[in-house]
C-alpha cells in the first residue's frame, strides 16, 4: 500500500483545491506541477477553490467490479467550476446514492465528502458525486 500519495494530495482530495495556469487558464487537479499540461509554459500558478457542484460531461454505469465496490456504480467525467470564475476543472468521479437511470449528460452533480477506502484502518477521504437533492448551495 502507498500511504504517502494520499498525504501529498490532501488539499485536492479533501478540500477540492486546484491550481490555475497563469498563462492559459487551464485548471489542474489533483496534481500541481511546474509545467502546464495544456500550453506547455512554466507559468505562475494560482491556487483556486472549486465549487461543490459541477456538470456531467459523460458517464458510464459499471456493473462488474471487484468486491470492494458497490454495483451498479455510475462513474462520470464532471466539469467543476471555480468559485471565483475562470475555467472549470475537468475531473472524473464515482457516484453514490444516485439511481443509475437518473444520470445523464448535462446533469448537475454535487460533490460530497466521503471516505473512499481505508488503509490499515486509516481512512482516505475524498469526494463522491451524487444527484443534487433540492437546491442546496
Amino acid at each position: 500500500m502507498h500511504e504517502p500519495p494520499f498525504v501529498r494530495d490532501r488539499a485536492a482530495n479533501e478540500r477540492l483545491e486546484a491550481w490555475e495556469c497563469g498563462s492559459c487558464g487551464y485548471v489542474t487537479i489533483p496534481e500541481r506541477r511546474e509545467v502546464c499540461k495544456r500550453c506547455g509554459e512554466y507559468p505562475d500558478w494560482n491556487e483556486v477553490q472549486l465549487a461543490e457542484r459541477g456538470t456531467v460531461q459523460s458517464y458510464v454505469v459499471q456493473q462488474r467490479l471487484p468486491d470492494e465496490f458497490e454495483t451498479p456504480l455510475p462513474v462520470a467525467v464532471v466539469d467543476i467550476p471555480q468559485q471565483g470564475g475562470g475555467e472549470p476543472a475537468r475531473v472524473y468521479g464515482l457516484f453514490t446514492e444516485t439511481n443509475p437511470d437518473d444520470v445523464e449528460i448535462g446533469m448537475e452533480a454535487e460533490a460530497d465528502f466521503r471516505t473512499m477506502f481505508d488503509i490499515d484502518g486509516l481512512p482516505v477521504n475524498s469526494f463522491k458525486f451524487k444527484r443534487p437533492r433540492g437546491d442546496r448551495l
Binding site: M1, K37, V60, V61, Q63, R64, L65, P72, V91, V124
Partner: protein, 388 residues
C-alpha cells in the same frame, strides 16, 4: 536511412491456452515466423530482438524473455512496453533499428499470458487510487466515449453494435481467432451489460497468445523473399493522463497524431489506405478510430459502419482478422498479430478473409490508455506492397 521490409510472420492460435507456458507460446510463434520465410532463414542470422509484453504473467521482466524462449542469445534483446500499443511499438523499434543500420535482421516477438491469473487487468481498477483510476475499468474508460458520442453526434447503439457483428463475422473465418462464432445486432444490444452503454459482445475477450515478425533491411531482403512487404511509415503519440479536453471525450487525439506522422512518412493520405487492422478492444473504440484515422469525418463513424465501407468486401476493410473482439487481445502480441495480418493481406495470402480490393497500402493501429478518462498512447504503422 535504409528501407525495411517484412520477410516472415508467425502466429499461434489465440485462446485459453492453459496448457501452454509463456515461453512455449513465444517459442511456437517464433518458429512459425522462421518457417514462413520464403527462402528460409537460420536463427543465427537474426541480429536483434524486440520483445513486446506487459508481462502480466510476471515471467520475463526483460528482453531476456525473448532470448530465453527462442534460444537467441548473444544478440541485443530488449523488452518494449507501451500499454496496448506494446506490440506495434516493438515493431516500430525493430524497424527503426534496421533502418539505422544497427541490425540487418530483427525479430519482433509479442506474447501475453492473460488467463493464468483471474485478476488480470481488473487490478487496474486501482482500489487504492483516488483520482487516477479508482473504480475505472477498461470498459468504463472506453464507454465514456460511447455515451458522449451518442449524445454529441446522434450515433446509435445499433451502429456501435455493428462493429461487433462485422468483426465476429470475420473472426469466424479467421483460423487463429479466439472466438469463432457470429452474432447479430440484437445479440449485442440485448446481451449482458458489462458497463453501460457497453454489453458483453462490445468487449474483447481475455486471451492468451503470441505472434512474431521478422524484419530485414533492403540490403539482405533478397536472401529471404522475392515478395517482401515494405514498411512505409510509422507514428507514435501520447496524450496526458489527467488533461481532459473535449476532443478526448469523443476520440483519441493520440491516434490522429500517430496516424498523421505515419501518413507523412509514407507520403500518403488516409484515402490511400486499402485495408486496416485497428484497435477494437471495444466496439466504440473502432467506431471512433474510423474518425481518428481519417477514414471518415469527425462524428460520422456511425454512418461509416452503416455504409458497409469497413466490411470485408467494402472500400476500406477494417479488421479482416476479426479484430481484438473476435481474435482476442493478448496485449503484447496484439499489435504484432495485426502487422502479420496486414503483411498477409498485402501478399494476397489472407485466405478466407482476403480483402477484395487488391490492397497496396495497409495500416495497423493500436491505442492504449492511461487510467483516467483522458490519456492515451497510440502507435500506427503503414505497410506497402511496393517499395516506398
Amino acid at each position: 536511412m535504409r528501407d525495411v521490409a517484412i520477410a516472415g510472420a508467425g502466429i499461434i492460435d489465440f485462446g485459453e491456452l492453459f496448457e501452454q507456458s509463456f515461453d512455449e507460446m513465444a517459442e511456437q510463434a517464433f518458429m512459425n515466423a522462421v518457417e514462413d520465410v520464403d527462402h528460409g532463414i537460420e536463427p543465427g542470422e537474426i541480429d536483434a530482438a524486440f520483445f513486446g509484453t506487459l508481462d502480466i504473467a510476471n515471467d520475463a521482466s526483460s528482453g531476456l524473455g525473448a532470448s530465453h524462449s527462442t534460444g537467441l542469445f548473444g544478440i541485443p534483446s530488449s523488452r518494449v512496453e507501451n500499454a496496448c500499443a506494446t506490440g506495434s511499438t516493438a515493431f516500430r523499434q525493430a524497424t527503426t533499428a534496421v533502418r539505422a543500420g544497427q541490425a540487418d535482421v530483427a525479430l519482433v516477438l509479442g506474447a501475453e499470458k492473460m488467463r493464468d491469473s483471474a485478476e488480470g487487468l481488473i487490478e487496474g481498477a486501482a482500489l487504492d487510487q483516488v483520482w487516477r483510476g479508482r473504480g475505472v475499468t477498461m470498459p468504463a474508460f472506453f464507454g465514456m466515449r460511447a455515451t458522449r458520442h451518442m449524445h454529441q453526434y446522434g450515433t446509435t447503439r445499433e451502429q456501435i453494435a455493428k462493429v461487433s457483428v462485422k468483426n465476429h463475422e470475420n473472426g469466424a473465418k479467421y483460423p487463429h481467432a479466439h472466438y469463432q462464432f457470429t452474432c447479430s445486432v440484437e445479440d449485442v444490444v440485448e446481451g449482458p451489460q458489462v458497463t453501460y452503454p457497453l454489453n458483453l459482445y462490445d468487449c474483447c475477450p481475455v486471451t492468451d497468445g503470441a505472434a512474431a515478425t521478422i524484419v530485414v533491411s533492403e540490403d539482405v531482403v533478397e536472401e529471404y523473399t522475392d515478395d517482401p512487404v515494405w514498411v512505409a511509415g510509422s507514428g507514435l503519440s501520447t496524450d496526458s493522463l489527467l488533461r481532459g479536453d473535449d476532443e478526448a471525450l469523443v476520440g483519441f487525439p493520440a491516434s490522429t497524431q500517430a496516424a498523421s506522422q505515419a501518413y507523412d512518412e509514407a507520403g500518403i493520405t488516409a484515402e490511400e489506405i486499402d485495408v486496416a487492422e485497428v484497435h477494437d478492444c471495444f466496439t466504440i473504440t473502432e467506431l471512433v478510430t474510423y474518425e481518428d484515422l481519417g477514414f471518415c469525418e469527425k462524428g460520422k463513424g456511425g454512418e461509416f459502419i452503416d455504409s458497409g465501407a469497413p466490411e470485408l468486401d467494402g472500400e476500406t476493410p477494417v479488421n479482416p482478422s476479426g479484430g481484438l473482439l473476435a481474435k482476442g487481445h493478448p496485449i503484447g502480441a496484439t499489435g504484432v498479430a495485426q502487422i502479420n495480418e496486414i503483411y498477409e493481406q498485402l501478399r494476397g495470402e489472407a485466405g478466407a478473409v482476403q480483402v477484395g480490393n487488391d490492397p497496396e497500402y495497409g495500416l495497423q493501429h493500436n491505442a492504449g490508455i492511461g487510467r483516467n478518462a483522458t490519456g492515451s498512447i497510440s502507435c500506427v504503422n503503414v505497410l506497402s506492397a511496393e517499395r516506398p
